[in-house]
Amino acid sequence: MSTWASADPVSSGALLAVRDLKVTFPTEDGLVKAVDGLTFDLRAGETLGIVGESGSGKSVTSQAIMGLHRGSRAKVEGQIVFDGRDLLKIVDDDLRRMRGRDIAMIFQDPLSALHPYYTVGNQIVEAYRIHNDVSKAAARAHVIDMLDRVGIPNPQKRIDQYPHEFSGGMRQRAMIAMALVNSPRLIIADEPTTALDVTVQAQILNLLVDLQKEFGSSIIIITHDLGVVAELADNIMVMYGGKAVEGSSADEIFYEAEHPYTWGLLQSMPRIDAVKQARLQPIAGNPPSLINPPSGCAFHPRCAFRDDERLGCSSVVPRFEISDEHPTRCLIPQAERRAIFQTQIETRTA
């Protein structure tokens, strides 16, 4: 990858090109800028990891791509170009037809994401038949096949069971089967393993990797867990306060991280692979307000490397240059950032 994103979203050749995406919600306390100017490309077959803490805007981004904010009070601006069409401009019904067929979504908590009163089979068959003119029997056979492929044992019997009769891991497998039933070109997985136990998480992540190879879908995986993206993602975007603060290949985030917030994340995480358990270095303070974000760089109040006098961290808004290979929203000059990472940041990577 030469640049993070190209200038023209339509001719970029990417499957999904997001340009200057903004999502705002009016509230009694003021306008919440949940996503504030997001730009990235996702090519066919690639996996993008979006990493951030609560309130960073990562989930709102995924719902904006699915068009799930339509009909709500949220305002979505910018461009979301999927396969050459701007999803923000097409009519509701066209978008609806793309949902589930071209773009599918896997949610965090499979128990609440599945309807409790309908069988798992009923819900997946419905997802298939809404986009395919097939008989119920044919759809059912296809769904049994899908359940089998996502590793649900005894699918002929399981298809007629209700979600509460499934274990957490099986439910998430069923969600994945539902997402894949139309062989979508893009799968958005929003914290797909956060509600699961670690051994089940390993099974599900393995399954996602295998299925991506089989179906060739692109994946956006949204998570707070850097370990999960380390396993899955080709590229990683770190979000903070509704903005992308750093974007790069997966390796670079871990071995050549450039943003102080990314450094903070790497240092505040306890590591299972660290023989020496050094004291954690938390990021001071709390996440920023999305209604009245800090002036200048949104991260400056918590930044250990801010330099107001020289760089104006509290007044100058840093830019995220998409023409860069490794864009970083930070006022510290790149050479300095690299030096800091090499000398001062103990990421505890082996």
Binding site: R97, R99, L114, H115, Y117, A127
Partner: protein, 338 residues
């Protein structure tokens, strides 16, 4: 499931027995003399004594209760006197099972009084039930779909106003304006199906059932609106949208299924409570249903009838509770009784 139903019915039966005992004790073991109220204005000491004997009030209260229970299951006679039956059978009142007592004031068995009044109340309750379910739920759904818009505010606002009016006010207004002044409907008179067929039966029911239903419509608009909104915010609705389903299908299949389940529960209990008579509505429209019978019995100190109606009402409510609980397991697959 079967075991659960059996257990619930068993517990329900015990509750009924306990409840009837309590009611019985309350009315007949009170410090007042029950025989005193058996003959209205033309009471003489002799008549009181005669009635006391005939109705069994001279016996200890638990013996009386035992006779009452016997009457419920096998029927009884008033007075329970084999010799009198031989000498003057025409003075004996037969009370076949289920016998809930004999009302000397009305010269009739309580069971037959209730049997006459019950169809009126049940017709009224069912008609009102259909009205309030249809109008209340559709109003609630519309309000939820247009949440925050004018139509939502109008529906919720008028529901609040209706809710705050007393039933007798609504009933009298409808009666006076709709039926009498504007003559939009005929004067409501109850006509049973066997007397006049379905048409007149429905005609007669319209205004009273509307009166009865209005307050429930108001309540159900708010209830439905809340449940639909809650359901629309659920994760599985987001999943349904992400699948690419149409709005209509999401609402019809996914939202309503979840929203209607709790409404069915409440509706079952409300209907159970209403079957035993709508006192105010029946009084306003002069309908001879259970509600009016109850008022009559209470104001004339007709103790056997009062006890009988209380027991019938309790039976309806206990049955409705069991039915609703069992129904719940049918509509919500997560509920498994054992």
């Amino acid at each position: 499931m079967f075991a659960y139903v059996v257990r619930r019915i068993f517990v329900g039966a015990i509750m009924l027995v306990v409840m009837s005992l309590v009611t019985y004790l309350l009315f007949f073991a009170a410090p007042s003399d029950p025989a005193r109220f058996t003959c209205g204005k033309n009471c003489s000491p002799e008549l009181i004594e005669q009635n006391r004997k005939a109705l069994g009030y001279d016996k200890p209260v638990f013996v009386q209760y035992g006779q009452f229970l016997k009457g419920v299951f096998v029927g009884r006679e008033f007075p329970d006197d084999p010799e009198l039956k031989k000498s003057a059978p025409e003075t004996i009142a037969e009370c076949p099972a289920p016998c809930l007592g004999y009302s000397p004031l009305q010269s009739d068995t309580v069971s037959s009084l209730i049997a006459t009044a019950a169809p009126v109340s049940i017709s009224l309750a069912l008609a009102a039930f259909i009205l309030w379910m249809v109008l209340g739920i559709s109003g609630g759904v519309i309000a939820a779909l247009y949440k925050g818009r004018l139509i939502d505010r109008a529906l919720v606002g008028s529901a609040l106003i209706v809710y705050s009016f007393p039933t007798f006010f609504i009933g009298l207004s409808l009666y006076i304006f709709v039926a009498i002044k504007w003559q939009l409907t005929p004067i409501p008179v109850y006509t049973s199906i066997s007397d006049g067929g379905i048409g007149p039966w429905l005609y007669g029911l319209f205004l009273p059932s509307l009166t009865l239903a209005l307050i429930y419509i108001a309540g159900y608009i708010r209830l439905t609106r809340a449940f639909v909104l809650e359901s629309m915010g659920e994760d599985y609705i987001r999943t349904a949208r992400a699948k690419g389903l149409t709005q209509r299908r999401i609402l019809g299949k996914h939202t309503m299924r979840a929203a209607l389940t709790p409404i069915a529960t409440v509706a079952g209990l409300d209907l159970g409570g209403l079957l035993a008579g709508a006192i105010i509505t029946e009084t306003v429209f002069n309908y001879n249903g259970l509600g009016k019978l109850a008022v009559q019995a209470a104001t004339t100190y007709d103790l056997p009838t009062t006890v009988g109606i209380v027991i019938v009402a309790a039976t309806f409510i206990i049955t409705a509770n069991i039915v609703v609980d069992v129904l719940y397991a049918v509509i919500d697959p997560r509920v498994k009784y054992s």
